[in-house]
């Protein structure tokens, strides 16, 4: 059997002293096949971005990282700097939230794409690389690519800059693309264009995509699989349909119910009380317990592991007992206690 494109197992990231420092990512694992899209969803501070930074060895220097992340069978964690440099930007491309800070402001877009191409293949002439850059801009639907190549990042609009960054990320025909909140800074019509572009790229080029976002809606139609992250762990994972239609975790359900529904605007939103835990003062037991409507005493003592349920894999001690959705909204409105 061949290795999966990406296999992450038991990934942990900590800060501060090894003994009583804080852990921001606490044992994350998943696999991704070529041509598939994995959506990692979580709120600010859940550890979703750190997880991806760890794969690329872009973590801040003081971070401690352990566990395993195999890209086509090759271990990325602890890989030598010189070696990871060959992978990063070549076999693994990345797209960040803010393209303005990801580009060098004093070099033209064309020069930067050429640099990315020639960094990994010195045999290509500048001229040939420029030609390739032009084709790349065309591939991401940037009009008049020959002129656009000669412009600076500030001359591009937000959406165009994000397209240019995607063009650069796919310049060396990567097998894996990591996109961290690629559409968060963009308007909704532009977001639709960028998501459409990413979808096309994964399908046509067989690229595996890890899409990190805080917005469940963004991954609904795009992702094959979705993992929901909270307090440094995956609290639920499954296919997109399983997560949306058969969630067995109160946090996932909370996220779905907190989003305004365009087709049912009268339905009262259900807020999740409280705030996410800080990595420095995580509660014992389940991280979500202090905000959870269903938490019992045992939830505050024992940290649940991800386990296989009928549809999803969920880390909730009470997963099987969760009542249907309508009951929850009603109980919250009437102030009835659901812990019994």
């Amino acid at each position: 059997m061949s290795d999966p494109l990406l296999a992450v197992d038991g990934l942990r990231i900590g800060f501060g002293p090894a003994k009583d420092g804080a852990e921001a990512v606490r044992g994350v694992g998943f696999t991704l096949e070529a041509g598939k899209v994995l959506g990692i969803v979580g709120e600010s501070g859940s550890g979703k971005s750190l997880t991806m930074m760890a794969l690329l060895q872009l973590l801040p220097g003081q971070a401690r990282c352990s566990g395993s992340a195999r890209f086509r069978g090759k271990e990325l964690i602890g890989m030598r700097k010189s070696e990871i440099r060959h992978l990063r930007g070549k076999d693994i491309g990345c797209v960040f939230q803010d393209p303005l800070s990801a580009f060098n402001p004093v070099k033209t877009i064309g020069d930067q794409i050429v640099e990315a191409i020639r960094l990994h293949d010195r045999r290509i002439s500048r001229r040939a690389a420029m030609k390739e850059a032009e084709e790349l801009l065309a591939a991401v639907s940037i009009p008049q690519p020959d002129q656009r190549l000669r412009q600076y990042p500030h001359e591009f609009s937000g959406g165009m800059r994000q397209r240019a960054m995607i063009a650069m990320a796919i310049a060396n025909k990567p097998a894996l693309l990591i996109a961290d909140e690629p559409t968060t800074a963009l308007d909704v019509t532009v977001q639709a264009q960028i998501l459409d572009l990413l979808r096309t790229l994964t399908r046509e080029r067989g690229i595996g995509l890890v899409l990190i976002t805080h917005d469940l809606g963004v991954v609904a139609g795009m992702a094959d699989n979705i993992a929901v992250m909270y307090g440094g762990r995956f609290v639920e994972a499954g296919t997109a349909d399983e997560i949306f239609y058969h969630t067995r975790h109160p946090y996932t359900r909370g996220l779905i119910e907190a989003m305004p529904k365009l087709d049912r605007p009268e339905e009262r939103l259900v807020a999740i009380e409280g705030t996410p835990p800080s990595i420095w003062s995580r509660p014992p037991g389940c991280s979500f317990a202090p905000r959870c409507y269903f938490a019992q005493e045992r939830c505050r003592q024992q940290e649940p592991e991800l386990r296989d349920l009928e549809h999803t894999r969920s880390a909730c001690l009470r997963a099987e007992e969760l009542p249907p959705r309508e009951t929850v909204a009603h109980a919250q409105d009437t102030g009835k206690d659901m812990t019994l």
Binding site: S157, D187, V188, I272
Partner: protein, 334 residues
Amino acid sequence: MSNDETVLKVVDLAKDFPIGSNLLGTRPLQLLRAVAGVSFSVKRGETYGLVGESGCGKSTLGRCILRLLDPTSGQVILDGQDITTLDEREMRALRRDIQIVFQDPMSSLHPKMTVRQILTEGMRLANKAPAQREAAIDDLIEMVQLPREVLDRYPHEMSGGQRQRIGIARAISLDPKVIVLDEPVSALDVSIQAGVLNLLRDLQKRLNVAFVFIAHDLGVVRYVSDRIGVMYLGRIVETGDAAALFDAPMHPYTQALLSAIPLSDPRTERERERIMLEGDLPSPLNPPSGCRFRTRCPRAQALCAREDPMLEGVEHLTACHFPGPNPDIAQTCF
């Protein structure tokens, strides 16, 4: 006090910003028209939602309504009185009737004032007796559903959601007739956002205050608004009852905007046909001739380049030469 009463009326409001200046610094080189003739009205206890993408002029419009920016032309009529002609002193007296909540409470709350001081400030300026202030503060903090302990905290000691609740408490502290909310929840995580939206809905019912709710998130605007205006490049291109606008949008821009929203339903989402808009928003320094949307519009014809369409209709108004439902997009997708 009847609810049919119009409390705020904006008439043909425009705002120009000077760009650059000539050598002597006496005249600007160019004028950027951020708001280009906007009219709408809001009734007591009603929420009027303003949606649009970045650069459409919605925030400038909000600031002009409060006269935080002085409009270039047009009128803002608050309870029958045109406030655009008032001088500074007269405006100051009227400020208690029209308040604002900003997007980022961290930068709109004074970092060195406790919550108690922040909430008392307005009442002090409005010459409320000290004894009354204390009681009023207790009410306020209860209304925004925060524990009394926060009164002695500073803004940095609270979470984003709590801070925004303080911003809201401050806005309602003088019992205003109108509150402009400029992206009040866009800096918050989804789970926190829902609580603040519910709070706003409840407060409005209780206080019968009118909201002008400015946001880029259509789902959020739909949730809180009774009527909605969709803005594009400084203009309202479509406006009407929230349900009518979302169920049967007539303007091609509104249709594109609605079809671009990701739905939290994988099956619908995968089968959905999207209207993809071509290109980017044109520069407001050099807006297209005729209809401002024509450069990206799938229905554009020669007429659209020549004539600027007026906002027409009764109740549900559209500024388009060829308005109508989009036959390619199934109704359920909106």
